[in-house]
Amino acid sequence: MAYPYEHPREERMLSRYFGEVDAIGIDGWIERGGYTALEKALGTAQDDVIQVVKDSGLRGRGGAGFPAGLKWSFMPKDGKAPSYVACNADESEPGTFKDRELMRWTPHQVIEGIIIASYAVRAQHAYIYIRGEFVDIVRVLNGAVVEAYERGYLGMNILGSGYDLDLTVHTGAGAYIAGEETGLLNSLEGRRAEPRVKPPFPAQKGAFGMPTTVNNVETLASVPHIVLNGADWYRQWGTEKSPGTKLFSCCGHLQRPGNYEVPLDFSLKELVYDLCGGPPEGRELLGVIPGGSSVPILTVDELDCEVSYEGIEAAGSFLGSGGLIAMDDSTCMVRAVRRMVEFYAHESCGQCTPCREGTSWLTKILRRIERGDGREEDIPLLLDVGSNMAGSTICPLSDSAAVPVVSSIQKFEDEYMAHIRDGSCTAKR
């Protein structure tokens, strides 16, 4: 089965074998050069592995974009305490579905990255924390883990190197906030997935109170390529601050939605209009959320930028997880935002007052506006509630919920006013 969404302008490093059923099993993976990066890594000093990842400039693909090598270097080097690596496969950001495909088609690419990362940070046990809804993917991963044990890539004395590592696939129970790294750790320990106060950071006190590195699936999947081919090779793509390639999960009102892997200096506009084919026939795009629902909406006029971290930031949004949501002129912006905020209200863990109460209040105000009972003073109220929610909580969920509200009011206030003043909607149905 060919992977349905291929485009010649893609740069398919991570997604090269998407659609090839043979690449899923370990034999097929080894035939395709799998686990050679692991062999190379195990013959290299741990700190040198960290150094090459640092030099590559690989940034965390989960959303925050923190340099991966730097994160690894925070782990203690004395090996006294047990330490862990957790692969964040919770992929819960609305609009994001790239990790699912990485694990579905190339589970060994991910596992190899986890083993290399664990070796580099001297961890004895690694976990894949995967969202429980990915039932089929969990099966694929469990099968792949068994294969890796059978071939000696996991377990005691891996490939005769003297390094031991166990890998456990752990399924979540359906909470967005378990994708926040400390919420993930609490959930892994069997607690409520409530984010922890930082400091201490996971590298100091993570899973079970021990040093832990948490990395996104895509970040870890990039590691074998970097270790095998070197930092300079990886830097052939992207920009100085955002090297490499990245998967974009494109969804919404597009002719060809799907996962596209492009270098990070690719044009956002071309990604939307060329690779994804733009909006359906006869429709105009209204706006694009480039990095999952937690980042500000960009209008069509703002799409002329690079998809790099700094490029999208300059345009007024964030790269985030790379979950691109396109909305055409059939969209009622108030309704779309209400739906997003409703999601955050449902997913707020409820620890922090501003988030617990603010998300549900925003939802209620937006519902009122949507059904035509809005008041003009609701606009400044929404903005002020948003500002009281932002930056005042343990984790960024509260900020995330305020973002679509604030950015949509800034850019689409007319749509709000149409609902409020005339009880009408500007969406072209």
């Binding site: 209200a345 409820g350 007052t353 617990r356 549900s360 009122r368 009281n388 930056g391």
Partner: protein, 527 residues
């Protein structure tokens, strides 16, 4: 390594302060008398930093910081009352009041509610929310504690008390986000010997004690520093009294004895204290009948009866009597020849508070067994056997005598009953001297580990009831035993002179947190 921890210099609201490394901003501010508003932070529990009420501005930092967990750093400039911090606090209060029923007029916590206080402080003229409030409801979490879910601000203090201090993590936040509420996982009631502390830690009126519900407004209560008489632990408490009745008991912080906590048994005991038919006037036997007398006559009769009586003195005392009372009875016995005094202690299973193991509901369910022993009384199983066939004077101090045998005190030359309630056996006395209950007078108890602690008077005693250290000392003086005592402190001073277990102690030294005498302490280390 330097044993002294490093000092950090910082500025809070324009004032410089030096605090040890590792101190939080909240604690550092308290040194300057600045109380940063807080809900989820409690001094006896971990700090989850989740209510976000204590957000303060740290100059040069991008976001406001939670003062309860943010540790101080050298050169930090903190503003607790600037525009940014005030806006954050106003925001949190507004969020908390969105669905709060504001049923303060019928809320048990009104007047002692942190939400009420801070809402008042940040007062907003208009409510910005037009949305209908979410109504949840109320339910029992223990047979005695009711949870008002609407009032709850989900600070999780109760959850953390059960988890960290009781170490029985029965309470949880159920659901998440705005649908959250507190309950047991199984939706069943739980029971725990220290459960009522969750009512104390609740910063609002979400957890209330059904026994106290609608009994009193908090501002109508007089507060009196006291000691719980429920067992030999001697928890420091505040008596909440209204219209001359104890309506509730709250723990009073003492790091050496009970921290911020106390058990449920003690609270239940005290509200029953002093109930029943009280002895209000002295009674003197005249021609086989007990007749009321004033104190002058009662004391005359006592002095006269004690003069020239033979056969020595025995006593039955209650281990809940104060040291001062026990001391005076001992002195009176000495006047006619001390022939032994005994007491019995009711007991129950020990219940240790796991997260603060210094505190336990002790097996000895009496406040002052240690004091009675130190003053020469002996613990026996059968208090009646010890005085059977006694022909001399018999003193009974506060022991109820509910289960006394038919022939109790029949052979005694003189039977003096000192107590607050008269049972049939007590009515066999020749002289009855009515005394106040512990809440009605000053005194001291000695707890299980020899710590002497003061309790103070919270209630007016009924009728003519008068502490025995006062009336007894008049009798003593007239029998040639020194000057009468005019205060419990004076009685204690005399006691401390005489008995080594109390040597060196005085009411001043004991203060409101108690003290152990040097002699008792060295005795304890020697053994």
């Amino acid at each position: 390594m330097d044993s002294e921890s490093k000092l950090i210099n910082l500025t809070i609201d324009g004032t410089e302060v030096s605090v040890p490394e590792g101190t939080t901003i909240l604690k550092a501010a308290e040194r300057l008398g600045i109380v940063i508003p807080r809900y989820c932070w409690h001094p006896g529990l971990s700090a989850p930093a989740q209510c976000r009420m204590c957000l303060v501005e740290v100059e040069g930092w991008p976001k406001p910081q939670p003062a309860c967990v943010q540790q101080v750093q050298d050169g930090m400039v903190v503003n607790t009352d600037c525009v940014e911090a005030r806006k954050a606090r106003r925001g949190v209060i507004e969020f908390l009041l969105l669905n709060h029923p504001l049923d303060c007029p019928i809320c048990d916590a009104a007047g002692q509610c942190m939400l009420q206080d801070y809402a008042h402080e940040t007062g907003q003229l208009r409510r910005r929310a037009v949305e209908a409030k979410v109504v949840l409801g109320r339910d029992h979490v223990t047979p005695e504690i009711v949870y008002f879910a609407d009032r709850c601000i989900l600070c999780t203090r109760c959850v953390r008390f059960m988890d960290e201090i009781a170490q029985e993590p029965v309470l949880q936040v159920i659901n998440r986000g705005h649908k959250g509420y507190i309950d047991t996982m199984t939706d069943e009631l739980f029971e725990h010997p220290f459960s009522m502390n969750i009512v104390d830690v609740c910063p609002v009126g979400a957890l209330v004690n059904e026994d106290f519900l609608f009994k009193a407004r908090s501002w109508d209560l007089d507060q009196t520093a006291s000691i719980c008489p429920g067992c030999s632990q001697g928890c420091n408490v505040a008596l909440g009294t209204k219209e001359n009745r104890v309506v509730r008991l709250k723990p009073r912080f003492n790091p050496e004895v009970n921290s911020y906590w106390m058990c449920d048994h003690g609270r239940r005991e005290v509200v029953r204290w002093g109930a029943g038919m009280r002895a209000e006037v002295p009674l003197v036997r005249e021609a086989e009948r007990l007749v009321p007398a004033d104190w002058a006559r009662a004391l005359d009769a006592t002095v006269e009866a004690l003069r020239g009586v033979e056969g020595g003195a025995k006593a039955i005392v209650d281990p809940g009597a104060s040291n001062e009372s026990l001391y005076i009875v001992r002195r009176l016995m000495d006047q006619v020849g001390f022939d032994g005094g005994s007491f019995r202690v009711s007991s129950g299973p020990q219940q240790v508070l796991k997260g603060f193991p210094k505190l336990a509901l002790r097996e000895d369910r009496a406040a002052n067994a240690s004091g009675a022993e130190a003053l020469g009384y002996g613990r026996v199983d059968d208090i009646y056997g010890a005085v059977r066939s006694h022909r001399g004077v018999l003193f009974v101090l506060e022991e109820g005598l509910d289960d006394a045998p038919e022939d109790f005190a029949d052979g005694s030359a003189l039977f003096v009953y000192i107590g607050s309630v008269l049972s049939p056996a007590a009515r066999k006395a020749d002289i009855v001297l009515p005394s106040p209950s512990f809440a009605e007078m000053d005194g001291t108890f000695t707890n299980f580990e020899g710590r002497v602690q003061r309790f103070t008077q919270g209630l007016r005693p009924p009728g003519l009831a008068r502490p025995i250290w006062m009336s007894g000392s008049v009798v003593l003086a007239r029998l040639g035993g020194g000057e009468p005592f005019t205060s419990a402190a004076a009685a204690f001073a005399a006691l401390a002179e005489e008995f080594t277990a109390f040597s060196g102690l005085s009411y001043e030294k004991i203060g409101l947190t108690g003290a152990v005498s040097a002699a008792a302490e060295s005795g304890a280390t020697a053994s």
